[in-house]
């Protein structure tokens, strides 16, 4: 992370130099921490962020949680688009960007401003990885999300595709159409399509790990040892950035 990562943000200061700011997005002092988890379905990231949430609360931090694709604004459109398979890679991407913009405005920025920690299950990197895997131009996706706030830490839970497939088939029997990238016509078999599509998503995550400074966690290790690793990084984050205001 850069020297003053996340110390200030307006609508977009977080992603300079990738993005351009909204013209009237004034930088404002940011006091809460933004911590995000990334990884493919079945990587274990949701389990890990729940455990982190419990731990932060136990330590007396105020914490809110926000999830990818959960705003009311585009819920109907997304649902209908998915049900009827109306979505193209570009509209899929834009619907998720709209959802994210809505949550950023109402569910993330006000909390950060008031000093509350925000935990996000998936962040803009999910869009970068999936959209690239679907064939949209990666530069376009980065410009699109250039209004986003840069997180204080982005954890990437890395698992081989076979591990993810076994976990998903072991828990919920059904693989969803778009999660499997069935819209791309890679394979008529959902499991095989999932394997191919999510394999591409892993490649994209790996490709952007360095660019965005992901903290890579080996998702094949035991749940508690992964959590220990996450907590020690988060603890450092609070100590480092919680002491004094950066210039």
């Amino acid at each position: 992370m850069s020297q003053n990562a996340g110390r200030e943000f307006g609508y977009s200061v977080g992603f300079i130099p990738y993005g351009k700011r909204m013209a009237n997005g004034r930088p404002a002092l940011r006091r809460g921490r933004l911590i995000v988890v990334e990884g493919i379905d079945g990587s274990g990231k949701s389990t890990q962020i729940k455990l982190l949430h419990k731990w932060l609360q136990a330590r007396g931090h105020q914490v809110v949680f926000t999830e990818w694709n959960s705003s009311d604004l585009v819920r109907q459109a997304t649902k209908r688009g998915k049900k009827k398979n109306l979505l193209t890679p570009t509209t899929f991407s834009l619907l998720h960007a709209t959802d994210f913009a809505d949550r950023l405005t109402y569910r993330i920025i006000p909390y950060l401003k008031s000093g509350i920690t925000v935990l996000a299950d998936r962040y803009i990197y999910t869009a970068f990885a999936r959209d690239s895997a679907r064939g949209v131009d990666p530069r376009w996706a980065r410009d699109l999300y250039s209004f986003a706030v840069k997180p204080d830490a982005a954890f990437y839970f890395r698992v081989p595709i076979d591990v993810a497939v076994d976990r998903i088939l072991g828990s919920r029997a059904k693989i969803k159409f778009y999660e499997a990238g069935m819209d791309l016509g890679l394979s008529p078999d959902p499991v095989e399509s999932f394997r191919m599509f999510q394999g591409r998503v892993i490649e994209e995550y790996d490709r952007i790990t360095e660019e965005f400074g992901f903290r890579v966690i080996d998702g094949t290790r035991s749940i508690d040892s992964q959590q220990q690793q996450v907590r020690s990084i988060v603890a450092r984050l609070y100590n480092e950035t919680g002491l004094a205001e950066a210039s």
Partner: protein
């Protein structure tokens, strides 16, 4: 503007997965602010083109199958901010571009767009969006063959709109809190929009038509421009097909096949991915 691959031109990075090689149709857009008479002109133009035998497809702002309901509800509930406002428009536009405009252009239709990306640029920028950002968001959009800009001024517009259907909340930019009453807000908001359109007229090379003239005179000017464009396109098609048959006429003795073999466009573009675009009809 970046000229796109395969002859099509996009505002930015384009649609890498879509097949845009052979767009036989013509894309004509009408722009201009609210209440300027765009829709009337589009209807008259469509009629005239169809009488001449052209296939015409019309598409209008926020009319996509995917988004029109959502946008309507969001506007009615006033729960939009400047970011989601811009992004909902972009989603609607992308849906219409891929599901209506591109298929129609592939099939050789004249596509008449009542408003185009420029409306999103103007409305987003007056609401505080970075002009560079909003242009990059719409980087997947095709550059039209012709953009007709119906130009007016705010005072003429106010009289015109009051005299016909009255003033509307969003057309007055009431979400921006520009004035104490609807009238003041409408005038200020429209003045700002018109200023954006005038700037874009230079930036993007709009063909400007004086919208304070009578309906028939405006239509006559529009038709002259459209006729010239369609004549040009016809000449292009003719010369392209001449290029195609020339080798057959003059080099018939050669054994080689004249048809060019299309190679994969870039290394990372696997055939499976190229095939995943919308089907060609």
């Amino acid at each position: 503007m970046i000229p796109g691959k395969d002859g099509a031109r996009f505002f930015g990075h384009g649609l890498p997965y879509a097949d845009v090689r052979d767009l036989k149709g013509t894309l004509i857009t009408l722009e201009g602010t609210d209440g300027v008479g765009r829709t009337t002109q589009v209807a008259l133009l469509k009629e005239w083109l169809e009488v001449q035998g052209y296939g015409v497809i019309e598409t209008g702002w926020t009319r996509s199958e995917l988004m029109s309901e959502t946008i309507g509800a969001a506007k009615a509930g006033h729960n939009l901010n400047q970011l989601t406002f811009s992004l909902l428009y972009a989603t609607d536009f992308a849906d219409r571009l891929e599901k209506i405009i591109l298929p129609a252009l592939r099939s050789g239709f004249v596509v008449l767009a009542d408003r185009y990306v420029f409306t999103a640029f103007a409305r987003s920028v007056v609401r505080g969006a970075d002009p560079v950002w909003i242009r990059s968001v719409f980087g997947f959009a095709l550059v039209p063959d012709l953009t007709l800009y119906l130009k007016t001024d705010a005072d003429t517009l106010v009289r015109r709109v009051l005299g016909s259907r009255g003033i509307d909340y969003w057309e007055s930019g009431m979400d921006m809190h520009l004035g104490t009453d609807l009238f003041e807000s409408f005038r200020k908001y429209q003045w700002r929009l018109i200023r954006q359109y005038n700037r874009m007229a230079r930036e993007f090379g709009f063909v400007t038509v004086d919208a304070t003239l009578g309906v028939d005179e405006i239509q006559a000017r529009i038709r002259r421009r459209v006729q010239a464009l369609l004549d040009d396109r016809r000449m292009q098609v003719l010369s392209t097909s001449l290029d195609t048959i020339r080798p057959l006429l003059f080099e018939a003795e050669e054994d080689e096949v004249a048809a060019p073999v299309s190679a994969p466009r870039s290394a990372d573009e696997a055939p499976a991915r190229a095939a995943s675009g919308p089907s060609q009809d």
